[in-house]
Amino acid sequence: MRPARLPTARTYSGAASAAGPLLFVRSTRRAQLGEWVQIELEGQPERRGQVIDVGTEVTVIQVFEDTLGLRPAGAKITLTGETATTTVGKDLLGRALSGTGAPLDGLPSSIGETRRPIWGAPINPVRRQRPSDFIETGVSAIDGMNTLVRGQKLPVFSAPGLPGIELAADIVENARPSRGEPFAVVFAAIGITERETQTFVSRFRESEVMQRTVLYLNQASDPTIERLLTPRVALTTAEHLAFTHGFHVLVVMADITHYAEALREIAAAREEIPGRRGYPGYMYTDLASLFERAGVLESGEGSVTQLPIVTLPDGDMTHPIPDLTGYITEGQIVLSRELHQRGVYPPVDVLPSLSRLMNAGIGGSNTVPEHREWADQLYAVYARGREAKLMAAIVGTEGLAPGDQHALDFTDSFEQRLIHQGRQRRALTDTIEIGWSLLETLPRDELIRMSEATLQARSERDRNGEDAK
């Protein structure tokens, strides 16, 4: 990773100017793009920064800590000759660290196994393995309807007041690798509140879940620009656990919205031409450099699976943050305020939700053979029922066609029995059974997504089940 000829550390005294999170330094011979910088000022804690624009006249440094009280003229600026790295190793499991990897749990710094650059390198597409291993999350709306597979990036689209983090915590607590392989969780808190952090962390602190978890916490009160580093530090650790030690790593990143805002802040400070809603034009590329770090390698044992949380500003799916996220990730789990208000937990609206990698992870011996047809059929009836519901609000249920009426009745029981499950873990087999019991209330000609063979196999199984009783 390192450039062949590495300049050693050079120290300059005094920056020309400062603006927001940026520091402008004159005449820095051989400054490198991405170079790690230390900024010292008497009587103030050391600050860290990174070179984001090198020029013969002016070099721009992005400062990760708060720049309040930073006097450019008095600053001692050291260009370290290295790009940002972080300590990685198995001994990080069970630790709580700051957004850049400093210990927060009162224990000494981890020794680690090695240091890795946090920016990562793209996985060569020909060395990727097609993700196809089912992860049982214990959540019906995901396992049954929008299956998660190893190496996938599947965000939760939440909104203020909706239990996005709670759902992520459920998954972390309940997810099981299919064959009992080593499993680890990396949690990156990006600008979330103390309360949200506690929601997540307090559930595992005493349990064994914590022993397989690494926490990186950049909270709301921590420096904003540090948020650009936190997910990268977390992903570097995740990649190390996955591709060096063979762990199946689930990375929870909350909240991508705060990350994007930090990105916008830097872009504005650099006086860049803003894109939609003031977010920079390269936000797609930047987000991709995080999300694309999920995957499975052909050569290795482990995998990196991502579960980012995105809080939709004003619940708007077309806002640039969820929009660009959706274009990069392999689907999305969408939470609905309406379901939440009706007490459905988790309040997953399955219609706009999607798992693009579902097909590879289901069916056959992965889950149950009829999984695809089962899910398609539930979707079709539920979609029809939701449309019928709108229509019924105008014309009343009597005015509906018989098929629409069936679908309408189905809709309520689908939400109450299949989607709603409270905090309980539900095994996939139970999810499938509940789905079947809902479908069996419908006439045969409504089940057009089901093949004759599947229905036959099902009724045979039912008969055998009854015989057994």
């Binding site: 300049p7 490198q32 013969t56 390269y282 995957g295 929009d323 045969r444």
Partner: protein, 578 residues
């Protein structure tokens, strides 16, 4: 003159001075790691360079060296089945050198320099030959003959030419003036390859997707824009076309998209076989892969590289389909570079020349008479996914595409949420190739093809009106024949337009199957109409049996199709009899 040095680096852009006598779009080597870059602006002694590789770690004062040429690619046997990055380096060879993760600074040619190809000449010594002429053939893949073309700007009398096994570097002969003849030649990817003239497209490009072949066909040599918000199925459509559509060669450009998707393409294409030839799909495919986390400037190059490869096979007389996913990422790369150059932004921050660049790109599609003898016709069909922000088509990339594309396949999030796939919105989609291709469909499909098509379009329109009314007054309040329209349209949506890309037998629909389903739909409408006109109530229609029969036709294996169609015909004939 002293060597040029880097004076500034920001993102994918570097500036160097003094670069002397370089040309715009000249390829340069940037820094000690020799990263690939391209000169995109010259101002006095200062050259601005877009760098095709990761720039982190580039330092001031590192050297920059001009190469004397623009971004070229090597065209010759061995392209089929290969997987190239945006600037044409084989990803497999990169993996062999740098492992699972891509390291910058590797110059690798697209074609394997050591592979040997068996060449048979088609001209002999003494022949007068000119640019574009076929001088011989190589069987590149079983069944696919690669014509060796005389490069542009070359002509003369053949001094010697000999069959045998050659690598692309070895001469296969020479002209009398001493010019050596080789199996491959180089081409600057931003330049379109010339042709004698454009021809009208009158043959449809058979996609195997009913909604396209039947309702919104595209001609060979045509171009289509496929805009859709995320999750509307753009990628599934592009992949289905790559797998099943009728073309000699497929160029698939994964531009700024997902790495896992490319892994899936590689996995599937290696295993699937072409039903007609029985050969692996990968044998007719060139994959160009620049995932979203690979360097942004290479995204710009990847689209031109794909077009160049396509034009090259077109020049051999083949029909090539270029599937680009997605053009928006290409446009965003232009925007990102333009912003770094502090160019005055146009609409939504895109550079003002975006529409022009897009038109020029789309216009590289076409059916043509190629240069050289023997005379050949070839075609490049261009199908491009567009990812409009927020799914709103009123944005520069979608609008710029519509100005030049001959067809619009608009994907709709509402349909996708109902799991109606392909989620093509039949109200907003259109095709300008309907007229031109109707003669072919009438001859090769069936004489009633056009009539069935226009009836079905009217049915779908009427259905939309009726559903608005039904939403106000309820279905029961509609007249019986209007209810029949609703049922017919539902059959059309579920069994004719709807197609399951993951069903073994439904993923590809031959023209005959598409016609059967359309015909059955109108059998149903006509039979239903005559039952209702006999004063029978709507409830008398046995819809359940008919719908099951339609489902059976839709999912029928080719060998069962006739049986299923006649079963459905019977079900329709009997639907009014208790």
């Amino acid at each position: 003159m002293s060597e040029a040095r880097i004076i500034r680096v920001a993102g994918a852009i570097a500036e160097a001075r003094p670069l002397g006598d370089v040309a715009l779009y000249e390829l340069v080597e940037v820094g000690e790691r020799k990263l690939l870059g391209e000169v995109i602006r010259l101002e006095g002694e200062v050259a601005t360079i877009q760098v095709f590789e990761e720039t982190t770690g580039l330092a001031l004062n590192e050297p920059v060296r001009p190469t004397g040429g623009s971004l070229m690619t090597e065209l010759g046997p061995g392209l089929l089945g290969s997987i190239l990055d945006g600037v044409g380096r084989p990803l497999q060879a990169i993996a062999d050198r740098s492992g699972d993760f891509i390291a910058p600074g590797m110059a690798l040619p697209p074609l394997d320099p050591d592979a040997r190809w068996t060449f048979s000449p088609t001209v002999s010594s003494g022949a007068e030959i000119a640019e574009g002429d076929v001088i011989g053939t190589v069987e590149e893949r079983p069944g696919l003959v690669h014509q060796i073309l005389l490069p542009l700007g070359t002509q003369g009398r053949v001094a010697r030419i000999e069959g045998g096994a050659y690598t692309i570097k070895e001469p296969i002969g020479a002209l009398e003036d001493g010019t050596p003849l080789r199996l491959s030649h180089r081409w600057a990817i931003r330049k379109r390859r010339p042709m004698v003239r454009r021809l009208a497209g009158d043959r449809p490009f058979i996609t195997g997707q009913r909604v396209f072949d039947f309702l919104f066909p595209v001609a060979e040599g045509g171009s289509v824009a496929v805009p859709g918000g995320f999750g509307t199925g753009k990628t599934v459509i592009e992949q289905s076309l790559a797998k099943f559509a009728k073309a000699d060669v497929i160029v698939y450009i994964g531009c700024g998209e997902r790495g896992n998707e490319m892994a899936e393409v590689l996995h599937d294409f290696g295993r699937l076989t072409d039903p007609e030839t029985g050969r692996p799909i990968m044998d007719r495919t060139v994959l160009i892969v620049n995932t979203s986390n690979m360097p942004v400037a290479a995204r710009d190059a990847s689209v031109y590289l794909g077009m160049t490869v396509a034009e090259y096979y077109r020049d051999m007389g083949y029909h090539v389909a270029v599937l680009a996913d997605s053009l928006s990422r290409w446009a965003e790369a232009l925007r990102e570079i333009a912003a770094r150059l502090q160019e005055m932004p146009g609409e939504e921050g895109y550079p003002t020349y975006l529409a022009n660049r897009m038109s020029r790109l789309y216009e590289r599609a076409g059916r043509v008479e190629t240069l050289g003898s023997p005379s050949r016709t070839g075609a490049v069909t261009f199908i491009s996914a567009v990812s409009p922000p927020g799914g709103d088509f009123a944005e520069p990339v979608t609008q710029g595409s519509l100005r030049v594309a001959g067809a619009l396949w608009a994907l709709d999030a509402g349909l996708a949420h109902q799991r109606q796939f392909p989620a093509v919105d039949w109200d907003t989609s259109y095709s300008l190739y309907v007229e031109a291709t109707s003669a072919w469909f009438s001859a090769e499909g069936s004489s009633d093809w056009s009539e069935l098509r226009s009836q079905t379009m009217r049915l779908l329109q009427r259905d939309r009106e009726l559903r608005e009314i039904a939403g106000l007054v309820g279905v029961d309040a509609l007249a019986d024949d209007d209810r029949l329209v609703l049922e017919g349209a539902r059959i059309a949506r579920e069994f004719l337009i709807g197609q399951n890309a993951f069903h073994e037998h439904d993923a590809f629909s031959a023209v005959a199957k598409t016609h059967s389903l359309a015909k059955l739909l109108w059998d149903f409408m006509n039979r239903g109409g005559s039952i209702l006109s006999d004063e029978a109530g709507f409830e008398k229609l046995d819809l359940a049996t008919v719908r099951l029969a339609f489902g059976a036709v839709k999912n029928a294996a080719p060998s069962d199709l006739d049986a299923m169609v006649s079963h459905a015909t019977d079900a329709i004939a009997n639907m009014g009899t208790p």
